[in-house]
């Protein structure tokens, strides 16, 4: 798609944008000078030549209206903040839509921007006390964002139409909902509850991801003890989200990394950043050029105001890099503009937080593409039709309460903690996560001669694994960060095996042995039955 289609998409989009731009100018000329289309064509050609000669033709307008999250300039709301979103979107924050022309458009990078005053925008979050985190539906017509009706209200996800219409809440989650994303079937994915500020102790449940089909009740997708946040839907249909790598001791610092699940919560898989230095990661977004961009900052940062980074889909564990390596500015949002360009919400000492154009070679921010002297523009997305992600038929069996795990070789590992690394495991202890830092053993299963093992385990529960040697010593440990959905058959190549590895072609001996059922009644039915 990306590497493959990058060329094709670039050419196609360039042509479309060129056509749109030309048509816009053409109709503008027809309307302003009140001439016939033929005369307008001539006039347009003359003007185009003139512009080209004088160098006035600047960068093109964005390929659709801009949807921008704005916070009042100078407002913090930190004193009254109850949760993390209160810090990000202080009272008065809003989501607006702005269509081209945007004021400073056409100004060359590095040149001073003409101050045009407050640009014309339409507020999508009218009536809400605060709003932010907009995303646009695949058809480019609807905007979903997180909003708060009043000071005592919970954050919920709202829907508004780009073209105008009634604002409506689409979630009513206890504890609030945030970070909307959209599946190709129209289901809304979001994180809930919104994490509170202060020391809530172990009693505070971490946010989890939910999927809510149109007109239906939400269903929980993630069950890890570390919670899940900031979902986005990849073009292959998976949901990419942010979570802690493993739940450390309560109160300890732990970095965040990227994981994926399918649209039904199955196949939770590490995607990138698991082995990097601890950092706060937020707002992952797939770019059309085959990269996933995200914001990264130090653990001490109260909100995601760090640098824009990226990994390549082709090798996510080996390609982490700065998205804008030469740009020395804080960034809060990155959005693809098509091709190699981005729209970013970045901070400039003169303009404050505004929307800028940037590409990988940008050394400094140019003139803002969109700014408002009264508002900080903190998040940006272009309202245009996009590529529809792949759908997926669920492989779950909701009637079941268990799933099965199959490990092809528990001794296939990159685990490097201690001298026992690489020692052969003879048994696997399966753990159920109870709370961060606490888990209980569900039971033990034998490891076959080839290192494979299978177990039937309770569904929708955080699961961890310990590889034991003959003396019962723990050789390797996987914290309770995975789960299986009802009826899911979950497989892995090893315990802490290398990422992005395909399995060897061999029949695991574990499939020949009876499957031990841990923590519940066996429900998987006769092994090997044709159904």
């Amino acid at each position: 798609m990306t590497t493959r289609d990058g060329w094709r998409i670039n050419r196609k989009e360039r042509k479309e944008r060129k056509d749109q731009r030309e048509m816009r100018y053409f109709f503008a000329i027809s309307a302003v000078f009140e001439v016939t289309p033929a005369a307008a064509t001539t006039l347009f050609a003359v003007l185009l030549c003139g512009c080209a000669a004088s160098g006035l033709c600047g960068p093109p307008a964005p390929s659709g209206p801009l949807v921008v999250a704005q916070t009042p300039r100078g407002g913090t709301g930190a004193g009254a903040a109850k949760d993390r979103l209160d810090l990000c979107y202080c009272p008065g924050s809003r989501v607006v839509v702005a269509a081209a022309p945007l004021g400073a458009e056409g100004t060359q990078a590095g040149m001073p921007a003409p101050r045009l005053g407050a640009p014309k925008v339409r507020v999508l979050s009218e009536g809400l006390q605060a709003a932010g985190g907009p995303v646009v539906s695949v058809d480019g017509e609807r905007v979903y964002f997180t909003g708060k009706a009043g000071a005592q209200s919970e954050w919920q996800v709202y829907e508004a139409r780009v073209g105008g219409g009634r604002l409506r809440p689409v979630t009513s989650m206890p504890g609030g909902a945030a970070a909307p994303a959209l599946l190709p079937d129209g289901s809304l994915v979001f994180a809930s509850p919104v994490p509170k500020l202060g020391n809530q102790g172990a009693a505070a449940p971490p946010p989890q991801l939910y999927a809510q089909p149109p007109g239906a009740k939400p269903r929980q997708l993630t069950f890890g003890l570390s919670g899940a946040a900031d979902p986005t839907v990849l073009l292959d249909g998976r949901i990419l989200f942010v979570s802690a790598t493993s739940p450390g001791p309560a109160g300890s610092s732990q970095g965040l990394s990227l994981f994926t699940i399918n649209n039904d919560g199955t196949e939770v898989t590490a995607f990138a950043c698991q082995h990097d230095p601890p950092a706060v990661i937020s707002r992952p977004r797939q770019l059309p050029d085959g990269r996933v961009a995200f914001l990264a900052s130090g653990l001490e940062s109260p909100a995601a105001q760090g640098s824009a980074e990226c990994v390549r889909m082709a090798r996510p564990f080996l390609s982490r890099a700065k998205l804008l390596p030469r740009l020395d500015a804080r960034v809060r949002s990155v959005c693809s503009e098509g091709g190699n360009g981005f729209l970013v919400c970045a901070e400039d000492s003169h303009s404050g937080w505004a929307v800028y154009r940037a590409d990988g070679s940008a050394e400094k921010l140019g003139a803002p593409l969109f700014e408002d002297s009264s508002w900080d523009c903190v998040e940006i997305v272009v309202a245009r039709a996009g590529q529809r992600p792949m759908g997926r038929l669920s492989s779950m069996d909701p009637a079941k309460k268990t799933g099965q795990v199959l490990c092809l070789n528990a001794n296939d590992t990159t685990y490097d903690a201690g001298q026992q690394a690489g020692a052969a495991a003879t048994r696997i202890r399966v753990l159920a996560g109870v709370a961060p830092g606490r888990c209980r053993a569900l039971g033990e299963v034998p490891v076959q001669e080839d290192g494979s093992f299978m177990a039937e385990v309770p569904a929708d529960m955080a699961l961890g694994f310990e590889a034991l040697d003959q003396q019962g010593r723990v050789l390797r440990r996987v914290e309770p960060i995975i789960w299986v959905r009802p009826g899911e058959n979950r497989s892995c190549t090893g315990c802490h095996a290398a990422h992005n590895r395909a399995p060897h072609n061999h029949r695991p001996l574990a499939v020949y042995a009876p499957v031990p059922c841990l923590g519940g009644e066996p429900e998987a039915g006769p092994k090997g039955a044709i159904k």
């Binding site: 082709a314 090798r315 390609s319 058959n489 992005n500 090997g528």
Partner: protein, 656 residues
């Protein structure tokens, strides 16, 4: 007539029709149960056994033909491109610079593979359906000579040896290699290849020819499958080496980088022995490239895919030794991947033996040496470089066009249009669906990845819809499958639409099902696939052995006069013309973890080409069906047969 009378008559008609239909169904079941002794598990009617004809099947009817490009060859001066159009029985000549077809010549027999001699005088054409090699004058395109070769010749390579000029022909159906001398034009030998030899390349000194085989060799269902690159001495016409490609198959191309002593073979790395609990992470299959050392035969397999995107069905390779590049066409992904051979060599040079061994499993590795992906139109299946390496020519088979690429700058220069793409033809549209990986999660594989040419890949798989177990299911051919429903080994899918619908999406594609229109086109294409060639030679005269086998097949008594029970006669379950009664029956092959004892009765059209056999592929040959797996006489009474009788039966089955 009074309304009341009309109503009464209408009621009589309705009641009579209902009774007839019920009797048709239940009567048929009772009839079958009485005659065969088993209750049919599938839906049975009178038409299950009677009034069956192949004439009305789609594959038996005329179908549209298209200008689908197959093999390519470039003239030594790099100006002219020769294109084999197997579906048209033609060879076309095109001007590469002008992007125009200059002329076409009729070459009967399905011209598929092309090669041109060093002087550019003769064009050699393998006729895949005609089992011959045609020699054409490259200037006039007139056929000057023809030579019978093995069955299904798919590819040919020209080379000069110390003993004279040679042609090496890969015979895909007879699994052998024809080594041919040019002066005089005669076949020197026909050594055995692997299974389905499909591509051939020869070294410039003619010392060795390398033949890529498309299918894995036959083995037991619990052993690691492997295909091979067969290395032939063109002078002696003997096999000098067989380089094994472990867990790899569907190699349809081969190229040589003689500077590095590499033979490059694109492959599909298959993982059929691993339960299919997922497809993510290359769990079912991935694409790769085998690098065989020309002299020593050591093989390293490296991936072509990426960690989150796959380039299915790599089917052809072209090597530019001077530019240090290789191009691999991925027919399922509509992409030509560009490999930097220097970077590949550098990685191999610093990797230790263990890392080389593991290279194919590392889905991140291709970023080390894949430097570009050139998008193409539908189904790039063959490609060739001009002699100076300046132009790359890609046959877009299902687009009826040739993409011309500037091989240095990797920029497309235009297309040589051969036909209209056939988008009005539902069969062609269905073939496009069949061959694209666009509907599969991360584009991992297409229907063709398991069914090359709609046929078998010779492997058994373990799907997880039935739990994670050791219940392998043999991959069945789609050729001649029209009219043989129900489908699936347990016979639970009544139609192809059901077979290829949501269940398939859930178990294999792991995406949304095919859209209705595409599904309709896909099943139309599958129905249009004729049985393997032997099944269509209805008028061929049987040999005495085959005649004896035929008598055994239709026998009602054993040679010593004992009557064979009706339920155990071959023809009871395998009646002509489809040679399938299309109902599931118990033939005593239930495995340890099979919950059913009855399996669908496969049709026998072209059965000789569909090994392995039985529902889990445990029988590697037709002989094994009776020598190893029919000890209870449930799969026909065979215990009375001696070796010659069994051989006769098998010989007859090969004619079906």
């Amino acid at each position: 007539m009074k309304p009341r009378a009309i109503l009464i008559r209408l009621g009589i008609v309705v009641v009579a029709t209902t009774v007839a239909l019920l009797g048709h169904h239940f009567g048929s079941e009772a009839h079958i149960r009485k005659r065969i002794g088993q209750r049919p598990l599938g839906k049975a009617t009178c038409f299950t056994c009677h009034f069956v004809s192949t004439d009305r099947l789609l594959w038996a009817k005329p179908r549209p033909h298209h200008d689908s490009p197959a093999g390519l060859a470039v003239s030594p001066d790099g100006r002219r491109l020769f294109i084999a159009l197997d579906d048209r029985d033609e060879v076309a000549e095109a001007d590469i610079a002008a992007l125009k077809v200059l002329r076409r010549a009729k070459v009967p027999g399905g011209p598929h593979g092309l090669a041109i001699d060093a002087g550019g005088k003769n064009l050699f054409v393998t006729c895949r359906h005609g089992d011959r090699l045609a020699v054409l004058d490259a200037q006039s395109l007139k056929e000057t000579a023809s030579l019978p070769v093995g069955t299904g010749p798919a590819a040919v390579a020209f080379c000069r040896t110390a003993a004279g000029e040679r042609l090496i022909v890969a015979n895909s159906m007879s699994d052998d290699i024809s080594v041919i001398s040019l002066a005089p034009l005669k076949e020197l030998g026909r050594p055995a290849a692997g299974r389905e030899p499909f591509a051939v390349a020869a070294t410039s000194d003619g010392a060795r020819a390398f033949v890529a085989n498309r299918l894995v060799g036959l083995g037991t269902i619990r052993t690691m499958p492997a295909s091979e690159v067969t290395v032939v001495d063109p002078v002696t016409a003997r096999v000098v080496r067989r380089d094994s490609l472990e867990s790899a198959h569907l190699s349809e191309g081969i190229g040589l980088d003689e500077k590095r002593c590499w033979a490059l073979t694109p492959l599909v790395k298959v993982r059929n022995m691993v339960p299919i609990t997922q497809v993510a992470g290359g769990w079912v299959m991935s694409s790769g490239l085998a690098i065989s050392d020309i002299k020593r035969g050591e093989v390293v397999q490296v991936p072509l895919d990426e960690a989150n995107d796959y380039f299915a069905d790599p089917s052809a390779v072209a090597v530019d030794s001077a530019a240090h590049r290789a191009f691999v066409a991925s027919g399922g992904a509509d992409v030509v991947s560009v490999l930097d051979l220097d970077r590949l060599a550098a990685w191999l040079g610093k990797a230790n033996p263990a890392e080389r061994q593991e290279a194919i499993y590392d889905l991140s590795l291709s970023a080390e040496y894949v430097v570009g992906r050139i998008p193409t139109r539908r189904n790039p299946r063959h490609l060739v470089l001009s002699p100076d390496g300046a132009r790359l020519l890609v046959a877009e088979r299902l687009e009826d066009s040739i993409l011309v690429v500037d091989a240095n700058r990797l920029i497309p220069l235009g297309r040589i249009v051969l036909g209209d793409g056939g988008v009005e033809d539902p069969i062609r549209r269905g073939e496009r669906v069949f061959t694209t990986a666009a509907y599969t999660f991360q584009h991992q594989f297409s229907c063709r990845s398991c069914h090359p040419d709609g046929h078998v890949d010779g492997l058994s798989y373990d799907f997880d819809g039935d739990g994670i177990g050791d219940n392998l299911l043999d991959n069945r051919s789609l050729q001649g499958v029209a009219g043989t429903g129900p489908f699936k080994w347990n016979g639970k899918n009544a139609t192809l639409e059901i077979q290829c619908g949501p269940r398939f999406a859930k178990v294999l594609m792991r995406t949304d099902p095919f859209p209705p229109k595409q599904l309709r086109d896909l099943t139309t294409f599958i129905r249009s696939l004729p049985p393997p060639r032997a099944a269509r030679n209805k008028n061929a005269k049987l040999t005495p052995s085959q005649e004896r086998g035929r008598a055994i097949f239709f026998a009602v008594k054993t040679p010593d006069g004992k009557e064979i029970p009706l339920s155990r006669r071959c023809v009871t379950c395998h009646p002509p013309p489809l040679y399938s009664v299309r109902l599931p029956f118990n033939i005593g092959t239930q495995g340890q973890h099979d919950t059913t004892e009855a399996f669908d009765t496969p049709h026998l059209l072209g059965v000789a080409d569909t090994a392995p056999y039985l529902h889990d592929g445990r029988a590697q040959s037709l002989e094994e069906l009776w020598t190893l797996y029919n000890t209870n006489d449930l799969h026909g009474v065979s215990s009375y047969m001696n070796k010659i009788q069994l051989n006769d039966l098998v010989e007859f089955l090969k004619t079906l």
